[in-house]
């Protein structure tokens, strides 16, 4: 589905990614993990063409994404920080993005699901962080694309909404969608994902299933297994 070949990226004098090789399989849920500043968001932005890699290639469905934009039609992307223009209303921004993409949507269903109906006429600058994240979720998931990229989807969500998000993602998995997530909430990652890719010092440090991770680190608890990876690395 997605193939990262030797991706390098540096910002000024800071080498963020130094040769990422990774493949994301169709119909599975892959979690990209790593400490703060390890380049998870940068990698996703490179995949989306928002950042340019200094070296390396990315193939989506066997075609190189360089100088290509149409592959984004089949991607639903949830950005990490929900920065919206502040002076427009929730329903206006939804209508705007719908109009810009002119693809079939399921916005009404999602608005109802995340209980956003009473907030449709409120300006985005007046929403709390959690509600902004819900708007963010509606905006990114409403196109029902086969490939979903979620960058920190849990941020700002209360426990009820978090459960709703998990249920929704499980439904999407059952529909055979490919999902790529990053998160620092390990319980969420453990519950949702089939596959873990751990990035450290700009390279893929571990790539495999949760069971494989537990057996290589000899830990029974997922969170401790991840911590173990970090500890062994620094030792």
């Amino acid at each position: 589905m997605v193939e990262f070949n030797d991706i390098h990226k540096r910002f000024d004098n800071n080498d963020v990614l130094t040769g990422i090789n990774l493949s994301i399989q169709k119909g599975r849920t892959t979690a990209i993990l790593g400490p703060n500043g390890s380049g998870k968001t940068t990698l996703i932005k490179i995949l989306l063409g928002m950042n340019h890699a200094n070296k390396g290639e990315i193939f989506v469905d066997e075609s190189n994404i360089k100088n290509n934009w149409s592959y984004r039609k089949y991607i639903d992307y949830l950005p990490q920080i929900a920065n919206f223009p502040g002076n427009i209303k929730v329903k206006e921004i939804i209508a705007m993005i719908k109009d810009l993409r002119s693809q079939p949507t399921r916005d009404e269903e999602l608005i109802e699901y995340f209980e956003l109906t009473p907030y449709l006429n409120i300006k985005l600058s007046h929403l709390s962080g959690g509600y902004k994240q819900k708007v963010n979720l509606v905006l990114s998931l409403m196109f029902n694309s086969p490939f979903i990229i979620l960058d920190e989807p849990t941020s700002g969500l209360d426990p009820v909404s978090l459960i709703k998000l998990k249920d929704l993602l499980k439904k999407e998995q059952a529909n055979g969608k490919t999902i790529l997530i990053t998160s620092h909430i390990m319980s969420f990652v453990e519950e949702i994902s089939d596959h873990i890719s751990f990035i450290l010092d700009g390279k893929v440090y571990f790539d495999g299933s949760i069971e494989e991770l537990k057996s290589t680190t000899e830990e029974t608890n997922f969170e401790y297994a991840i911590a173990n990876l970090l500890k062994n690395h620094h030792a």
Binding site: K45, W69, K73, Y77, P79, N83
Partner: protein, 260 residues
């Protein structure tokens, strides 16, 4: 691109600053018309205002709009839309809404005053054409500055410096050069130096059209020789077009390479 243009345009048309800008021109041209009682004189006074103010507002508005809409741009970049369309759409939104403010602000009082019955309608038209050109040129330059500077303060600083340079300092430096090298034949140098500054070029275009090239001093004759002919006018319009196209070309290039 048209959809982005539509959103940027309506976003700006709804903003308070577009109204302030429009009302300023409306007031200025009404007052000038009723004080002067003469359309030609009003055009000359307006020329002096337009030539300085349009570039200033164009650069400031362009930079401000870019930094203000960064969040929306981020959202758009993840959508299946070409980068070129996003930035061209935003640029055209800024440039057309600014041009519209000038066109209506100047046009309404002049039309009410009886511009269409007068014989100076072409003089007025050239004023408008120049104002539109300057709006496009300076918003394009502003987008260039904003795209190359992530730091807002720096961006605004460079924008104001650019305006100051082209509107004020260039003329001064030009004059000093003329005085310093007065023993040499300077006609070619003067012509070329003028072409490099869109503000100077616009001023001379209008002054020549108004047939008051005597105001231009000793180089007036050369200018009239050159700009007065059909060839001269074509060249100067061509240069104005290049002043729009080149910054736009660079803007698209910068936008394509930038990391967001």
């Amino acid at each position: 691109m048209l959809k982005i243009l539509k959103y940027s345009f309506f976003d700006l048309v709804r903003s308070r600053w577009s109204y302030v800008y429009f009302l300023f021109y409306l007031l200025l041209s009404s007052v000038l018309l009723f004080l002067n009682n003469n359309i030609s004189n009003a055009i000359i006074t307006l020329l002096n205002v337009v030539i300085v103010l349009v570039p200033l507002i164009g650069t400031i508005f362009g930079v401000m709009y870019y930094y203000d809409s960064q969040e929306f741009t981020q959202l758009l970049l993840a959508q299946p839309i070409k980068r070129k369309s996003i930035f061209m759409g935003q640029f055209l939104g800024v440039a057309t809404s600014l041009s519209l403010s000038v066109l209506l602000g100047l046009g309404i009082p002049f039309a009410l005053y009886g511009l269409f019955q007068s014989n100076v309608i072409f003089d007025f038209l050239i004023l408008i054409v120049v104002a539109v050109f300057l709006s496009f040129i300076f918003s394009a330059l502003a987008f260039n500055i904003a795209l190359s500077n992530t730091n807002k303060i720096k961006g605004f600083g460079y924008a104001i410096l650019l305006w100051l340079f082209l509107a004020v300092i260039y003329d001064g430096a030009f004059l000093i050069a003329l005085i310093y090298f007065q023993e040499y034949p300077l006609d070619k140098f003067t012509l070329i130096a003028t072409l490099f500054n869109p503000i100077d070029l616009s001023r001379i275009l209008i002054l020549l059209k108004l047939d008051i090239s005597a105001l231009l001093g000793y180089t007036g004759a050369i200018f009239k020789d050159f700009f007065g002919t059909l060839f001269g006018s074509l060249v100067s319009f061509g240069v104005l077009v290049i002043w729009v196209v080149l910054p736009l070309w660079r803007m698209v290039r910068l936008a394509k390479r930038k990391d967001f």
